[in-house]
C-alpha cells in the first residue's frame, strides 16, 4: 500500500488494484470564491489524468481546503464518492449535481474496494464545532491485514477508533496521517485568532521555541492509545498561503523539515514529512520516492521560503488591509450595508449570549482593573474608503445591541472585554453568502477577547456563519460555483 502526498491534505492511496483519492485539491489553488482562491503550498502542478482510474473519492468534511468544486469537476464521474452522513446537505447536493454517485456513511462502517478494506469513523466529539462533522478513514489490506493507514485530518482522533485499538478489535495501522494546522504567524504579522487587546506583534508570544509544543502535540497526542509498537506518523496540512504583506508561507509549515527534527528526537516513532509528489510505501518504509504526475515548483518554493526568512530577519510588519472586497465608494452603499448589519446583529444576539464568549463576558466583574459596564461585547463596522464607521454593543441587561457613540478602536478595546473590528463590506458579503468567514479571518478582521484562544468572537463566527451553523449560506456560495462551472 502506498500513500502519495498531493499537497495540503490531499492523498492518493494505492494498492495493487485499488486507488482511493482523499480530499482532492488538484488545482494550483482552491476556494469557493473565484477571486479569493488560495495557492497551495508548496506550489505544484498535478496532472489530472493520473486520476482517470480512481475507484473512490472520499471527502472528510466540507471546508474549502478539502472540498474544492473546481477540483472535483476535473475528476472522473465513474469513481464512487463517499461522505459522512452529518455533512451539510448543500455539499451532498453539489456532489450529486456534478454527476457523482454519492453514498453516505451512517456511522462506523466498513466497505471493500477491490483488495482494500476501508472503515469510516466519526471524529472525536471533543473536536471544535466547526470541525465536528469530520469523518476519519482507515485503509487496510482486505486480506493478510498487517496494518494499514489511518487518516485523522483536522479533528481529534476518533474516540471509537481509539477504543477499538485499546480492546484489540482493530489491527493497529502502520501509518497515522495527522494535521499540522498550527499556521503560526511570524513576529510582525497577525493570525486568524490574534488577540488584538493583548496584541504586540513583535512581543514575546511571537518569538521563541513556538514550534516545540506544536510539533510535540501533533506527533504524540494520540500515541498513548496504541497498545503495542507506535505507528509511523505522517504530517500534512498548513499547505496553502494567504498573502499578507511581504511574506506568504507560514513558519513551521515545512513538513519535511519538521519531520527531520522530530526524528532526531525520537527513538521509536518514525515521522514522515513529504513534499507534494513524494510517496510513502508501507512495504519499504525507509524509501521515499516520487511520482511523475506531480511536479513541484522548486524555484517558487525556494523563493517563498526566502521571502519568509527575510520578513523575520528584517523585522518587517504586515498591515491590516482596508477590506478583502472592494470597499464601498458611495454613501448609499454604506447605509444599505449598515441596515443589513443591524438585522444580522438583532438575530445574532441570542446565540451570542449563549455562546462561549457570551457566557464568559457575563461572568466578568472587572476589565482592565475597571468596573465593567453592562455592555460587554462590541462590533465595529468600518468603511475606510468613506472614512465612516458604526459601532454596536451588546447590552447584558436587555440582551440587545445598541449603538455605541465611541468609535476609537483603542478606547473600545480598553472598555470592552470582547470586540471585533470588521470591514462592513466584508461582513455584509459574508452574511449574504457571497464569501465565507474563512476568506476574511486573518486578513481584514481584528478581534479581541478574554480567555483562551477559542473563546473569542472569531471562533463564534466560525460556528455561526460557518458551513455547520449556516448551511444556507454555503448553499449560496456553492450555487455561484456551479453557475461558473456550468456556464463554461
Amino acid at each position: 500500500m502506498k500513500a502519495t502526498f498531493v499537497g495540503h491534505q490531499t492523498w492518493l492511496v494505492e494498492t495493487a488494484f485499488a486507488k482511493i483519492l482523499i480530499d482532492p485539491l488538484i488545482c494550483p489553488d482552491f476556494g469557493l470564491v473565484k477571486k479569493l482562491r488560495l495557492d497551495v503550498y508548496p506550489p505544484r502542478q498535478v496532472d489530472k489524468d493520473a486520476f482517470h482510474d480512481v475507484d473512490l473519492i472520499f471527502l472528510s468534511h466540507e471546508h474549502t481546503d478539502h472540498f474544492d468544486i473546481k477540483s472535483l469537476n476535473l475528476l472522473p464521474r465513474t469513481a464512487k464518492f463517499i461522505v459522512g452522513t452529518t455533512i451539510v446537505k448543500p455539499v451532498k447536493d453539489c456532489i450529486k449535481r456534478l454527476g457523482f454517485n454519492l453514498r453516505e456513511i451512517q456511522s462506523v462502517e466498513t466497505i471493500d474496494i477491490k483488495d482494500l478494506k476501508i472503515t469510516f469513523y466519526p471524529a472525536d466529539p471533543q473536536t471544535a464545532f466547526w470541525e465536528s462533522r469530520v469523518t476519519q478513514i482507515l485503509l487496510e489490506p482486505a486480506e493478510h491485514n498487517d496494518g494499514g493507514i489511518f487518516i485523522a485530518v483536522d479533528a481529534l482522533v476518533s474516540d471509537v477508533f481509539r477504543e477499538q485499538l485499546q480492546i484489540g478489535v482493530v489491527t493497529p495501522p502502520k501509518l497515522m496521517i495527522v494535521s499540522n494546522n498550527s499556521r503560526i504567524s511570524p513576529p510582525g504579522a497577525f493570525q486568524s485568532l490574534e488577540n488584538w487587546s493583548k496584541n504586540n506583534l513583535t512581543g514575546i508570544k511571537k518569538t521563541g521555541p513556538l514550534g516545540v509544543q506544536m510539533l510535540s502535540s501533533v506527533v504524540t497526542s494520540f500515541l498513548d492509545d496504541f497498545p503495542g509498537n507506535p505507528p509511523d506518523v505522517a504530517m500534512c496540512g498548513g499547505g496553502f498561503i494567504k498573502r499578507l504583506g511581504d511574506f506568504a508561507a507560514f513558519p513551521f509549515s515545512n513538513q519535511s523539515e519538521l519531520s527531520q527534527i522530530a526524528n532526531s528526537l525520537s527513538l521509536d516513532v518514525n515521522v514522515v514529512g513529504l513534499l507534494p509528489g513524494q510517496y510513502f510505501d508501507l512495504k519499504k518504509i525507509n524509501e521515499q520516492s516520487e511520482v511523475d504526475w506531480i511536479r513541484l515548483d522548486k524555484i517558487q518554493h525556494q523563493f517563498l521560503l526566502e521571502e519568509l526568512q527575510e520578513f523575520i530577519d528584517q523585522k518587517k510588519e504586515s498591515t491590516v488591509p482596508k477590506s478583502v472586497l472592494l470597499d464601498y465608494s458611495k454613501n448609499d452603499q454604506y447605509q444599505k450595508g449598515i441596515c443589513i448589519a443591524e438585522q444580522e446583529l438583532s438575530a445574532m444576539a441570542k446565540p451570542l449570549l449563549m455562546s462561549t464568549p457570551g457566557k464568559l463576558a457575563a461572568k466578568l466583574a472587572t476589565h482592565n482593573g475597571q468596573k465593567l459596564e453592562h455592555s460587554r461585547i462590541v462590533f465595529i463596522f468600518r468603511c475606510e474608503s468613506l472614512n465612516l464607521s458604526q459601532v454596536y454593543a451588546l447590552n447584558y441587561l436587555t440582551g440587545t445591541f445598541e449603538k455605541e457613540l465611541e468609535h476609537d478602536e483603542k478606547i473600545l478595546i480598553k472598555k470592552y472585554p470582547f470586540g471585533m473590528n470588521i470591514p462592513l463590506v466584508d461582513f455584509v458579503a459574508m452574511a449574504r453568502g457571497e464569501l465565507q468567514i474563512w476568506d476574511i479571518v486573518g486578513v481584514s478582521i481584528k478581534s479581541w477577547f478574554e480567555g483562551k484562544i477559542f473563546d473569542g468572537l472569531v471562533p463564534f463566527f466560525y460556528c455561526y456563519y460557518g458551513e455547520n451553523g449556516s448551511p444556507r449560506l454555503l448553499e449560496k456560495v456553492i450555487a455561484q460555483n456551479l453557475k461558473e462551472i456550468e456556464g463554461v
Binding site: 455533512i87 451539510v88 446537505k89 464545532f129 465536528s132 436587555t398 455547520n468
Partner: protein, 463 residues
Amino acid sequence: MDLTNIGHESWLIETDDIAILVDPIFAPSFGTQAERRFRIVPPRKLKLSLLPQISAVVLTTEHIQHFCLRSLRALKEVQNGDPTSVYLPPLFPEAAFQAIERLGYQCIRIDPGSSKYISALRIRFYQPTSDVPFWDSRVASLYVQYKDDAIFIQSDTAISGLFYSEVRSKQVVAPTIVVVTNNFQRSANGKTVGLDNLLPISDPKYSRAAGLRLLDALVAEPIRKLGYVPDIVIAGNGYSAPANAIDHIWTNEHLAIKAEQLSLQGTVAAASPAKKFSTKRENSVSPPHWIFQQEYRNSEQHDPNEYDRPQYPGRLSPKKIIAFLNEMARAWIITECGQPLLAQHEYLGRPIGSIRFALCLQSNRRWTNFLLDISTVEFAKSNETELIKKIPFGITCDYDGFCQLLNGDVQIWELMNSDASQWYVCDRYKSPLAFMLEYFSEHVDQARARSFYEKSLSVDLSI
C-alpha cells in the same frame, strides 16, 4: 437579627430598627397561569396587614420561584406606598427591572464586590465563581450584616468562592446563620419533568448514594470552606408542581434530622413557613403572628392534562412553529447543547441518519411532530410514529402549551415541570430542555419575558 421563613425561599429579616423582605411570594401559589400553579408547601396563609413595616425588598434573581410582581404590588398596597426600594443583583434583566419600577418602586442594582446600606443593615451579593448551569449563572446569594451579626442566604445557585475567601480572611463578619438551598428533586407519578429522561437510562444524579452526597454538599461542604460551624438552615423545594409532578425526594426536614444524627452538637435545622431563626442563639424567638400554617390537602393539585382544556386562542399553525424552530435551531446547533446532537451516530444499536431531534406536540391525543435535520439545520413536519425508538433526542409537549411558550404566556420552567417531557442520550445539562431553559431565559429573550411579566399581573392565584 431574626430570620423568618415565609414559605419556600421567601424571607423576612428583622433587626431592632428595620425589616426587609427577600424574594417575597405572598400568595398560596406562584406561576404565570391559574391552570399551572405551583403551590407553596407546607401551605400557609399570610395576614399581610400584620406584616412589620418593611424598609426595602431584596431580590436574588428574576426566576419565577423568587420574583413575583403580584406580591410586590400587594406589598405596596398594604403598606401605603412603602417600601420604595428594591435591591437587585448586578445583571438583573432590564425587562424585570422595568416591570418592578412600573409598580412604583425604585430599583437599585448592586455592583459586584460592593455593598449597600439600608440604614445600618449592610447587604452584599455574591454571584457564583464556579461553573454553574447558564440559568443559574446570574443568580446571586445574599449576605446581610447588622452590627456584629451576619446572615448568609444561598439562592438557587452555587455559593461563590469569593464569599468563602472573604469570610476566611475576615473581610466580612462571619455569618452565624447560613441558609443553604436544597434543590434536589425528581419526577413523580410516572411522569417525566424537569430535566429528567423518558429513556430508562441510569442518571448519575440519582446514583452513588445521591442523598448522602447531597447532604455533604449542603451541610458539610460550606462548613469545610468556611472553617467554622455556623447554624445551618436547609431551605428550598418549598412548592409542589401541577399534578404533583415533582417529587421532593429528600425533604429539608429529613435532611436536617439525618444531619443532626450525624452531628455532635446539633446546628442544622430545616426551614418551613413561620419558622424563625435568631443570630443571638440564646434568644428565645416568638413565632410571627402574621403567618398561619395550613393543612395540606393533596386533592388541590389537579393534573392539567386530565381536564379537557378549551382550545387556546393563541394556537399557532405548524408553519409558524417551524419558522420559529428554524431560528432556534441555528442558535442550538452551535451551543454546547447542540454538540451532542452532532456527536450521536448510533441509537439503540442502529446507525442513524441526519435527523437527530423530534419535537412531538400533542393535542386531543393527536400528535404533530417536527424533526430537526442537522444537515440543513432546519425542521420539517412529520407523520412518523414511535419517534422515541428512532431518534436519539426529543421533547413531548402539549401543543397549546408549546404555543403558549412561543407567545410569551408561560415560562419554559413552568412548562417543563408540567406539560413537557424529554428523552436524550447525553448529560442532563446538555439535554434539549436544558437548551430551552437557556434559550427562553429572561436574559436571552427579554421580549418574551416582558410579555409574561405584563400578563402575570392580571393572573389570580390568591386561592
